[in-house]
Symmetry: C2
Subunit: 291 residues, 2 copies
């Protein structure tokens, strides 16, 4: 099956690495300028799915993707967790003492603050993308500059890793949702090859489900919404809230929990929640990632 995966960033990005972990090294990857374009590529059918980062264990939730989940009708068909390793990358042969400036995405730069504290002579410059910074310095043949990105970015542009694993905290993971059009979701419905679906690696036999709902600004409704899950013994793994445009102090709540939409306890919880919440939407049931 010739799956095309849309991702935000340039070739060599962490999202592309996540796509190769899940779908294998030969998957076709389609770089997108931003998250909006990534969603649009799937909706238009140019890509079979998108690899959308949803939270990082140091930086927190990727709120733009939470908002886009609500704006568009895509289904979560999978989940991947990637260990984020930041490397100092430069042109072949360049050594650390030659480097004057380091480019990367602001989040990556912030996650390497200990390295920069130990090397105060390096000028730090914000750029739009991690892998894109490697691409830029290779295209410009700049031997006094480096970039911070994942190892695949060095390989993608013929650069080399000067110093590996320079992140301040090794407990650095990004969780991605795999998003597909509802009419294509069945293509992703099995997790082992040879069952008529797309093989997915890096996943477990445990199922997870994600939903989003709104609740009015009424006392106790949030608690009663969560009680619907607790009374069925359902384990919540993530709760995220986002403001609702035009309705100050009201929120959309996103929940992730263990179990499949077809499990009877989850069916009962969702039925109860439907009586309390507005705009309840099932975002998808999918295999839980290995962590």
């Amino acid at each position: 099956m010739n799956l095309k995966v849309a991702f935000q960033g340039e070739h060599g990005a962490f999202s592309e690495e996540a796509a190769r972990i899940m779908f294998g090294p030969d998957v076709v990857t389609l770089p997108q300028r931003n998250f909006d374009d990534m969603f649009a590529a799937v909706i238009a059918g140019a890509a079979g799915c998108a690899m959308a980062p949803i939270e990082n264990t140091l930086a927190g939730s990727v709120i733009r993707n939470y908002d886009l989940l609500l704006e568009h009708d895509l289904t979560i068909v999978g989940e991947v967790v990637l260990r984020v390793v930041h490397n100092l990358i430069a042109l072949p042969g360049v050594t650390l003492p030659e480097i004057k400036r380091v480019y990367s995405h602001p989040v990556a730069l912030a996650q390497c603050e200990r390295f920069f504290a130990a090397h105060p002579g390096l000028e730090v410059v914000s750029a739009y993308d991690t892998a894109g910074s490697v691409k830029m310095l290779v295209e410009g043949n700049r031997r006094d500059e480096a970039a911070i990105a994942g190892a695949p970015a060095a390989q993608a542009y013929g650069a080399h890793i000067v110093t590996a694993a320079i992140e301040s905290n090794s407990q650095n993971f990004t969780r991605f949702y795999v998003l597909a059009r509802p009419d294509r979701a069945a293509d992703f419905s099995c997790t082992t090859a040879g069952q008529g679906g797309l093989a997915q690696a890096g996943v477990t036999n445990v199922r997870k489900t994600s939903i989003v709902f709104r609740i009015g600004n009424k006392p106790g409704v949030l608690y009663r919404s969560l009680a619907a899950f607790a009374d069925e013994g359902i384990d919540l793994t993530k709760i995220e809230s986002r403001p609702i445009e035009g309705r100050p102090w009201e929120y959309s709540f996103y929940l992730d929990f263990l179990g499949d939409r077809n499990d009877p306890p989850i069916g009962r919880a969702l039925a109860r929640l439907a009586g309390l919440a507005e705009n309840l939407r099932l975002l998808g049931s999918y295999p839980k990632a290995e962590v």
Copy 2:
């Protein structure tokens, strides 16, 4: 009482406007480069309190301030809600047809997208601050440029409002916490003048309380934590979660709810929560803002 209020941004910023609403037009305001410096000014005693934006009804939570609340030992002594009105501001006498470029903070620019759609000839440029953009164009005497900021920024720098209220959505409010050192919190303990404390305007007689706690990655603990409040009939008004550095998939939860720390139901709920959660911290009880 000669209160000094630290705020992030330049004179004329929305945070400074919030400080004047609460403490009156003659309050001394201390501009700070960033939120870290704002916290530091209060801790060092250079300012009596900080005016910290915590959520906007369109953009969502100000996560840096949530993180700084956890890193530092400041107490929430008040709350202000400001209606955010964006204005197109230029040098005196400049009219809309003369303007080629518009500067502002990216969030402000995004909140005026309908205005820019209606005026496609305007080049949009991101800047570090709303009021700072007004300051910049006045200092540079640039007559072909404008900035987007609140009305006080026009007054602060001798500029004028070319077009008022250009925000796409009028349901645009920012909620601020007033933060003080615990040993200074009593100075803010009354809400009417002449009672020995600082007079605060824009507040109600209803009390609110904010807490933060961590829960381990264990099934059902989040639900049981919230049940402690629901069983006492306490109304949660906001829930926010942030990842815990070094402990992947564990979170700090921030709750706001109605009532004072000394109300018996709240005391019982906090006692129950203390048995479930780690690092429970009371951030403060304060008068609810008028909304």
